[in-house]
Assembly symmetry: D2
Homo-oligomer: 344 residues x 4
């Protein structure tokens, strides 16, 4: 059975596993105080060209989002996000559980528009009752978005400008950051991300690691961020687990190399569906491809390949996600080509 369900369906890249194995019996102190964690941080800051920044490793994406948002916000503040943002929909209320409202704005292809953001902020401050409303205290976007789309450098710069005007930190959820940066459609680099965001994370879980996300503060972290992580249960006692993995991922550009491969596979897959006459739910330049299928097509393809049903479309068909990852092989795409029927 072919596997295109998601980008976390396999273990870790072999180089990551090997680094875990070769360091396995070294005695290392805990909570991120080991040399591999230090090396991983240094390599990440070098790659992001922000050597004065801070890096922390957390266990997973939801808790990374919740911990960092909660660390930045005062209790009367909320976080602004696109209505399809992960924190607004698929984190089981983690942000609200930590006491903060997710202030949602309509999205455009999964993206938060700078003009929409500015209009919202202007209206908020113009409202005579705004002191009885939740203050916007941070802006959250994801790169790539939950629909696989990418912000252009112009769009990110415009968001940054609005954030500056309203003194709002900009946070970029990079659960799939590598798959965004390595897309042929991307016009930003990791240093650009570090320059435009106040904080962002480099996803490991979906890009070659067993688990773990690298949270980067290009200009330094909020006070006592270590304790924030501990309080939110996001701290590994065995900090080496993330340190060693990210040390491997950021040695010799492995993170970018395997991301580029996943995108290469995704573009082949996209071309395949296009050639066979399928319609796309959204035009994605990254590793998540959303195809519109009829029930019959789902059943037929489903005999040979696993994928994820995303949402019903208004015309009674289904938007279906086919994801590639660092682990997808050429042979997988070829096998899909062999079984994919023409769309009629």
């Amino acid at each position: 059975m072919l596997f295109f369900v998601n980008d976390y369906g396999e273990g870790a890249h072999e180089a990551v596993l090997a680094h875990l194995a070769e360091t396995n019996r070294e005695h290392l102190t805990g909570y991120g105080s080991d040399p591999y964690t230090a090396a991983a941080k240094e390599k990440i800051l070098a790659a992001a060209e922000c050597p004065e920044g801070d890096v922390y490793f957390l266990a997973g994406g939801t808790q990374t989002n919740e911990t960092v948002i909660s660390a930045y916000l005062r209790s009367y503040e909320g976080v602004v996000a696109c209505e399809t943002g992960h924190i607004a929909v698929h984190e089981a209320g983690a942000i609200e559980h930590s006491g903060h409202k997710v202030l949602t704005l309509p999205g455009r292809d999964g993206k938060l528009d700078a003009a929409d953001l500015e209009a919202y902020l202007a209206a908020y401050y113009a409202d005579g009752n705004h002191a009885a409303m939740v203050f916007p205290g941070m802006v959250y976007i994801s790169y790539p978005t939950e629909y696989g789309t990418l912000y252009g450098k112009d769009e990110l710069t415009a968001l940054r400008r609005v954030c500056d005007a309203y003194h709002l930190p900009l946070y970029i959820d990079g659960a799939r950051l590598g798959y965004g940066l390595m897309s042929p459609a991307a016009d930003v680099t990791l240093p650009d991300i570090a320059r435009l965001a106040d904080v962002f994370y480099i996803g490991g879980t979906k890009v070659g690691a067993l688990c773990g996300e690298a949270l980067v503060f290009p200009h330094g972290a909020p006070d006592h961020f270590f304790t924030h992580i501990k309080q939110h249960g996001a701290l590994f006692a065995k900090g080496r687990l993330c340190g060693v993995q990210f040390d491997a991922l950021f040695t010799d550009g492995l993170y970018f190399h395997i991301s580029r491969h996943a995108i290469h596979m995704a573009m082949k897959l996209k071309q395949l569906f296009a050639e066979r006459g399928y319609e796309f739910f959204i035009d994605s330049p990254t590793n998540q491809q959303f195809v519109v299928l009829t029930k019959e097509e789902m059943d037929e393809i489903g005999k040979h390949a696993q994928f994820e049903i995303w949402e019903p479309t208004k015309d009674g068909r289904y938007a279906v996600r086919f994801a590639t990852s660092w682990a997808t092989e050429e042979a997988d795409i070829e096998a899909l080509a062999a079984i994919l029927p023409e769309h009629k």
Copy 2:
């Protein structure tokens, strides 16, 4: 200067004040254990025709909403509300501060539509990922709504049916309940409200009291609700303050009598604006009237009367609220008539 800014611009109805004064030096135990509180509860339950129910008095509306919603919800649940609902907009994130998401649906004239609610719930449970989303755990509506509109008995019954189908408690925010029930457009009574809701509150702050809301559980309160109130800081040590006031308000139907008067004044005011050619932002049958004014009209009327700017309209004018209350007098309406220019 005429006053139509809101319905909490004066103190208390004189009968309420008098009852406070005449009982002032009686020695009474605290936290609602006094006989006036007991009498008030009994009178309210009698008026609502649910003698087996429970009543609690809380200091104000926001904390009543927050306390009751938090008492019903489990930590993974949120409360469903219309996007213009008070809890969604004007409570400074009190619900989120207690850990729960407000799950908003589009409103129709400020009302939550039963079909919209059902469609949302059906889609939620049909979504294969719904366990990663916030569970809908309660439904919140206000009667009258924040825009002064009223649900018909058919609409409330339809909401009740959906709530039953999905095992969701229905909560009615009655900050202005009297002004709804006494409207000529209302086709429900207090006993109807008690029959249709699992919990609702009878607003005192806006209807004749200095402060205080009567929270009614027709079928009984959640366990340890007293402690919930205490934990949320909503408990008066001097419980008599609410007890005595509501004892006065529910003696000889005072609450309904003064509510009816406010509606009578509102209908005169509405007719006045209509006769002078003004357009209404929304057609309200209750004590809040929303009129559309130009900037020039606002300035002109503002020389003689106070009102509240609600929101800008899309054509560059303003939706403005004129509120009546139990304290509005015929003379106020006549004075307004004397200064209100014709709309051109």
Copy 3:
């Protein structure tokens, strides 16, 4: 039946009621924007000799404590309190509900000792693992304490010095502030309190008002404190309710005058118990007197007077509280003298 149960067993001082009545029909804007609230604030700041400070009125003590503590603390911080402090015991977990730990230290006669505080803070920062523990972020004391005892100026100054050394704001819960300041044992004044604390409240509920507490920030409030109050449900829409009451209480020193009367009554009551041979649970110089009674004495006195059982003593007797208030009359003490048996 004589009433010594608590100090909130009656309504409001007659001058307070009269001021409510005489201003009742004035049209005033809400949420504390009225002139009576402004006047009350000015009078309080004048009495406290901190004209540059801020004052906010909140509905009750628990929510005042929770709102102010939550406004000062960052999410990784807790509040240090004596183990018998109100926030640690009798607020149903309100502080924890807002996300913060109450860090308790043993008390001495209900008081937090500066040396104990300093030893705790020194040990905390010396602990290599302290980043995995809750940071001390504020110090809470009550004046008078829950046991009626008072801090001397030297004790408060010592606490202040420790707070300064560790950059901790000092918060004084003054639910019964008047009854402390007017005690013959007090060696501090309201301006002293304002000089020593970063924030404190002047209790109204227990000292002549129907409800309400005046929260004073001698050096200014945290940003957006209004929104904090709203979010915590502690904001009266009808802000005049507190404004008018405190305007009366701080006109011509009424607050101090009625507090002094309560203390005068308490000292007579204390002397009475002493003369009849009773033992005191604690030596209190304020309006709460804690007497040790046998079961038989409780039953006998209980035929004529109401009081509150505080806690069992280790020898099988009971610590019982007799409270006086602004409403206690000479005749009440005389009547108690008439029925109080000699202790054998």
Copy 4:
């Protein structure tokens, strides 16, 4: 340099690593829906002799504690723990952050005493004001305790009886469960733990895994526990990471085998210190040994071995922890013996 700092200083047992490697490229669905997770659950339930129970895997100890406690408690409830309990001291306020108070009782050698618990509960319910206090809603203990001590079966049974009498769930934090059960001093087995607790966890992080804890509900989990985990950020997308590791740990009794080895090492280490004349801070039968050292002894031993300073003793010396683990080797103990000076 010898390493006795903690029991999480190495990676994973080689069999665990090997199982990760051999399954690495298998395509598995996420969030714990894979067959290795299913197999691990089945093996754990078989070992605990509670085949009808539920098992969930979470990333680490603090979040396991916080998630499970928060799932059981209603908002007005707190969790009872020994004052030295991990949740009371070393989790940075995670429990309070989720809204709940940790109700602490004095410990006896790190243990919660059933009689102390019963006395506390009886006094709580006897207190006329208990509705204004936090309700005890769960009991937390750790096995072994934070001081390495063990409850006897009689002690656990007594706690269970008190919990039954007061309808309180009993939760056992088993971060080092294996090191407790395999101690020669232990008189309970894993099935005993499953019979006595309502919920407990089997620690992986400290016993052979890279990360992960297995949370066991012998009688079934609370409703929607999956969503609780997600909301608390404790859910691995790549659920296989825990599933595969615990599958290895519970195959052929590996978990118990490696735990027994660690205890064997600990007993040798304990005997060594005893023979050399050192005093113990507490008599521990498990893998954590607490020895009292002078400053000079710390310095001398510290030249050759790493350990952790636990706390200063009252006489100016230091309680120091030497921990063994599954990864400690005979050679480590022999090397320690070679450098350990006689205590004078």
